[in-house]
């Protein structure tokens, strides 16, 4: 046998930065497509993302709503912004479960051995979640109007609210991607997600006014990101001063994204 000399790949085969970006986008598109097919085809996932928020709307509107009085606004108008935020937060569990599953089944290992862009696995997953969130928000809007929600501002403010919600949801996806990559399997990913989600969504201004809570809790509730995004959505849908709310919600969302996405990417690259 001849000893093979160490070869160097011909220059033509090494991709230019421009082509690299093209490949990253194409690969991200393929991964997004495969995740969306997964969402459509797993009945549990479809149920979790669409039926559950509808149940929350109906429960809070008709069961708890009667006991909660909000000065100056109907409870359903108070509730719907909260449901929006709670739904995108709960939906992010799907990111952690899905990634943990792909790791467990060995699919990620196959991806790592393909000549595809390494960032595409996480980018495709989080963008698929973004698409799913758009659909889910459409459902909540429809159900909200059906049970008495009325827009007190204008369509532009409504679109701005949805945009900020999607930004917040996208930042959360990266955090839950990090959880999914750290969990040994899908069940653990789910178990690891709930202790983060329950206090964040229920100890917030999403369902009840903060001044009904004990004083020691109010400080946390007023300043945590879920409350801030709920307050921002409420201001944009129900009227009142918006500037500081919008500013805080955007700063938190962008900040979370800037911190969480590099952490998730680093975790993915270092995984063995």
């Amino acid at each position: 046998m001849t000893v093979a000399a160490s070869l160097v790949p011909p220059h033509a085969l090494r991709a230019s930065p421009f082509r690299r970006l093209g490949l990253l986008l194409a690969d991200t598109g393929v991964i997004m497509w495969r995740n969306l097919l997964g969402y459509v085809r797993i009945p549990e996932a479809a149920f979790f993302s669409s039926v559950q928020p509808v149940m929350f709307v109906l429960l809070f509107r008709y069961v708890f709503g009667g006991a909660i009085r909000i000065p100056g606004v109907s409870y359903v108008n108070y509730l719907i912004p909260g449901i929006f935020v709670q739904t995108v937060a709960f939906g992010a569990i799907g990111t952690s479960i899905g990634l943990a599953q792909d790791l467990h089944t060995g699919l990620i290992e196959r991806f790592r051995a393909l000549p595809m862009s390494r960032s595409a696995v996480l980018a495709g997953r989080t963008l698929a979640d973004l698409v799913r969130n758009v659909v889910v928000m459409g459902i909540i809007t429809g159900v909200g109007f059906a049970v008495g929600f009325r827009l007190h501002t204008n369509v532009l403010a409504f679109i701005a609210a949805l945009g900020i919600l999607l930004l917040f949801a996208y930042a959360l996806s990266w955090g839950f991607a990090l959880i999914g990559l750290s969990a040994p399997n899908a069940e653990t990913a789910q178990v690891m997600s709930f202790p983060v989600l329950f206090p964040m969504t229920f100890a917030s201004t999403a369902f009840v006014p903060v001044n009904t809570m004990p004083g020691w809790l109010q400080g946390f509730v007023r300043n945590q990101p879920v409350s801030l995004v709920v307050n921002c959505t409420r201001a944009l849908l129900n009227g009142g001063p918006t500037a500081t709310y919008v500013e805080k919600a955007i700063i938190w969302s962008v900040g979370l994204f800037l911190v969480l996405s590099p952490l998730a990417v680093r975790k993915y690259r270092r995984m063995r």
Binding site: V30, R34, L114
Partner: protein
């Protein structure tokens, strides 16, 4: 003759203590099948993961078709296909969608991916099942799809990591036939397996690996003749008789006869001929065997011949349970 794969002195330690690979070297000639034979946990999969750019070795170097794997991982990933032991395919996609996905991620483009998908579904007899999601596939169908996925980009080198572990004999045979066809087409294959039979049937060259070391290398014929081509297994009524039988039969065996409980195992070169002599000798020693089997050597027999001990799973099963528990805790 050219080398498709070259592995030189690679070592790998996990978590600073578990030595998975210790100075492993081998070379695979282009267009041949190379078998890495060893029990669970011997380091076979670690070698495959290093060669497929998933893991980096602590030391040593690896080349694929002349390219240094660690220096040019992106280029190297365009050269090989990988089918893993866990059938890494997407459960929620159909067979066709899975192959399309791998084609697109290998940057074949939509048209060529579609054409290749059609060919492979045909070749692996999955055309009828192409539009069903993988949840409805049998274990054998999944493995076939997994191997098909590894071939989408027409790789020159194919890694098959325990392709038939856990398959029923019929599916195993079907997969073997497919692999044999591939090699006829000039693909270089690195196959890992726990089955001597599989390595024997598919590989031209075999390296036996144990606890991260290559302990033997050669053609299947060389390995088998080194250890004796046939195993004679005599069962007697008690352990003492078995030991006695082992003593009288020792001159016939290529290795020390092995006594397990009430059984004596001999590895011999000329099975049928030696069987007559063995029975005659036992008869003269007034030992009457209660059972007698002649079989092909298994991986366990190869291990016994090469290392003087059995593979982990077998020896653990024979240990008293307390000792077993203690050893597990130490691990």
């Amino acid at each position: 003759m050219t080398e498709a794969i070259r592995v030189e002195h690679i070592s790998k330690t996990f978590n600073g203590e578990i030595r998975a690979l210790d100075d492993v070297s081998f070379a695979v000639e282009a267009g041949t099948v190379f078998g890495l034979l060893g029990p669970n946990g011997s380091g076979k999969t670690t070698i495959v993961r290093i060669l497929t750019t998933i893991l980096q070795p602590d030391s040593g170097s690896t080349h694929l078709l002349g390219f240094d794997v660690m220096s040019y991982p992106e280029h190297v990933r365009t050269l090989f296909g990988l089918a893993g032991q866990y059938a890494a395919v997407d459960e929620n996609l159909t067979g066709r969608e899975n192959l399309m996905m791998v084609g697109r991620l290998s940057h074949l483009g939509r048209r060529r991916s579609a054409a290749r998908t059609g060919e492979l579904l045909e070749q692996f007899q999955l055309t009828d099942a192409r539009d069903r999601t993988l949840k409805t596939y049998s274990g054998g169908m999944r493995r076939r799809l997994d191997v098909a996925a590894a071939l989408v980009a027409r790789p020159k080198v194919l890694f098959l990591d325990e392709p038939t572990t856990g398959l029923d004999p019929q599916s195993r045979n079907a997969l073997w036939e497919v692999i044999e066809e591939l090699v006829g087409g000039g693909t270089t294959v690195l196959l890992t397996t726990q089955y001597l039979e599989e390595a024997d049937r598919l590989a031209q060259q075999i390296a036996v690996i144990d606890r991260g070391h290559v302990i033997a290398e050669g053609t299947p014929r060389e390995l088998k003749s080194a250890m004796g081509a046939t195993v004679l297994d005599f069962g007697v009524n008690d352990h003492e008789t078995a030991v006695q039988a082992a003593n009288v039969l020792a001159p016939l065996s290529t290795h020390e006869p092995h006594v397990v409980a009430n059984n004596v195992e001999l590895t011999v070169d000329n099975g049928a001929r030696v069987a007559i002599d063995a029975l005659r000798i036992l008869d003269e020693a007034k030992i009457v065997p209660s059972t007698f089997t002649i079989r092909e050597p298994s991986l366990d027999d190869v291990f016994l011949a090469l290392t003087g001990r059995q593979t982990e799973t077998v020896s653990e099963a024979l240990e008293p349970s307390t000792q077993k528990r203690k050893r597990r805790r130490q691990r």
